[in-house]
Amino acid sequence: MPNGRERAADILHGPEGQEIYFRLVRYADMLARIYGWRTGAVLPGSASPRSIVHDVVVKVLEGTRSWDERKEPALLNALKGMVRSEIGHLYERVEESLVEPINVVLPDGEERTGDFFPSTKLHPGGLNPEQHLLRQERTKLEFAALNLLLKEIEGNDDLESVFLALHETDSPSEIAAKTNIPIQRVYSARRELDRIVARIPLARVVRTARKENES
């Protein structure tokens, strides 16, 4: 039985190879856009959705990353998981770089970072002040993104229903059941929603978050 590396090469050389690659690039583009909205940052280190897809596929073909066909029979799904993990790690690093310790001189005269704040000591699982600030910023950006999406779907009944259902589930069949919209119309709404997401640039989300902050 050929290994995952050989199987991946066979599939990518085959008739579906190009389509898998296209769909992967499309997926990476969507993920990077929404991660960007939530963090207010572009992909770091001159990475792009395309470069991430390229690197992931190279890693699979070279055996640096492995595809276990028994665990995930569809190559596209396996590659999507790897792309999601890569993009997730890159944005985590962006956030880590933003959490600079705030140096504070406590009454004992010693300088301490946010990690030494009493609240952090009392609640080890809680957020330190820098993380708390970052979370607040992130929430503002997420609210701004949500409001921009809401404006775009206004007046479209199917989109509005799907939008509401997305607060509870990500499954098209569950959304169809919750909204009483036929599954084919849920898929159409998904395509439309995807186009809307692709139309909202990061700068617009950041600008909206700032405006909402000022008002």
Binding site: L12, R23, R38, L166, R190, D194, V197
Partner: protein, 148 residues
Amino acid sequence: MTDKNKKSDEVARFLDNLMSFLADDDLRGKDLAEDLRARGLNPDHIADELRDLLREHAPTWSEKAERERLSALESFTGARETVHRPRMKTVELIKQVVEQMRRLGAPVTAGAYHQKFQEASDTDLESLLEDLRTQYELLNSQKNKDAQ
């Protein structure tokens, strides 16, 4: 949990669900290419990228064979180049052999090649030199025999 925290968790969950909901698509062929264009991505460039990537990291048997053939050809050419003499030197040697043959009183038909030196390839010149040397050796040995 405060109302504010609850709301922010709801928004975060919505965006998580949105990413997951949009992860699947039913686009095919031209629609997929069109969708990429709408995102400002050129499907032709992406297709080229995949082709290059596969050629580099997962070559087919024929691509491997072609790569090995080119590599062998390159090493062969490289090896030849190490013993290859400059073109002008070959022309000079031809002229010297022609002159030696003339001194032996032989009709030098090779003189006709002179005009073609500019057009002839390096390989042709090397072969002409070899031929003339052989002819010269024959002529010389004949001359020596005659002298005895």
